[in-house]
Symmetry: C2
Subunit: 208 residues, 2 copies
């Protein structure tokens, strides 16, 4: 076989809130067990149903801060007093084993990841239309009217950074979006820039 | 639906002689009738079994020369006294209809096409190994010993231009190679650079 790079790919799936990142990623997780999914680190207390290293990497605020100082997170954020981060060490270990890692993340987080990890594959999920996105944001039972208003006010600004991504997928039907993501992963593995140096054609024969 | 560019893609499938371009393209043609295949223009006489505009665009040497002067060919070459060319007008008409066009072509031809048509998707077919390529070149009954020797002497030089392409595919199994080409086509349609200007998010809302 040809010496393809044996590292996995980091696939960053991002987009405005309400676009359906979670639904697409849940579907991918079910249909494509060969993909690994990035597990966040958090300082929030573990719930009884949760397993450390499976749902989250749980850690004390002190440990989180030390790791943050060490540059151990691809990105981090504070939400309602708890710290969350994408643990670089876990992502790197999986990629080194040759497995692809999917990271589901909001736009701000994705842009931070891109600074540290530009070789990732950055995919922007788009709503079929702005109206449909509004409908989805309003339809999420868990959000307060204030949160909904805030989210809606962010949409234009969120969509404006799409050029920072390499790919955009319209999330109309989840199956189609997932199959486009799979096609992107396959195609990226064929990109010339991802091939290792191909030793076998370093010859000096001429042909004219 | 999102305003994706409605033009088709030009998919250039190329690689060293003996790598199996023809086999892969025949398979694609059977399995993916939605793809169009570029038809060459030629000055060689039509055989009885051949249909103009289906196997080739047959034309006189005079017509070919005039069209060549007009820049009507993406590339052209003379082979055993006959002229062959890729008719830009036919490719453009198909792309404008929104259909993807596959162009199977040798490496020299592909590099010429790239100069005129850099927005094409350039795919390099690789042999599983250099030994396997030698075996395939020698196994082709139609070639004389001189042709075989010449082809083998070209391999290193042909492989050296792989960086001019965007993708490389190892042609081990034809079904796998074809499915990777399909994935590349799907992925390319999701590339940000191929989206039309997305009017609907040109808003001025702020979000902080």
């Amino acid at each position: 076989m040809l010496p393809l790079k044996d590292r996995g790919l980091l696939i960053v799936i991002s987009g405005p809130s309400g676009v359906g990142k979670g639904t697409v990623c849940s579907y991918l997780r079910l249909e494509h067990p060969e993909l690994a999914f990035s597990i966040s680190a958090t300082t929030r207390p573990r719930r009884n149903s949760e397993v450390d290293g499976e749902n989250y990497f749980f850690m004390s605020r002190e440990e989180f801060m030390v790791r943050r100082e060490n540059g151990d997170f691809l990105e981090w954020a504070e939400v309602y007093g708890n710290l969350y981060g994408t643990p670089r060490w876990a992502v790197e270990a999986t990629l080194a084993r040759g497995q692809d890692v999917v990271l589901e993340i909001d736009i701000q987080g994705a842009l931070k990841v891109k600074e540290i990890f530009p070789e990732g594959v950055f995919i922007f999920l788009l709503p079929p239309s702005k109206d449909e996105l509004e409908k989805r944001i309003k339809g999420r039972a868990q959000d307060s009217p204030d949160t909904i208003r805030y989210r809606l006010s962010c949409v234009d600004q969120e969509l404006a950074v799409i050029n920072e991504y390499q790919y955009a997928i319209v999330n109309g039907q989840v199956e189609e979006a997932a199959s486009e993501i799979k096609a992107i992963i396959s195609a990226e593995k064929c990109r010339i820039s991802r091939y290792k140096e191909l030793e076998y054609w370093k010859g000096g024969n001429t042909c004219d």
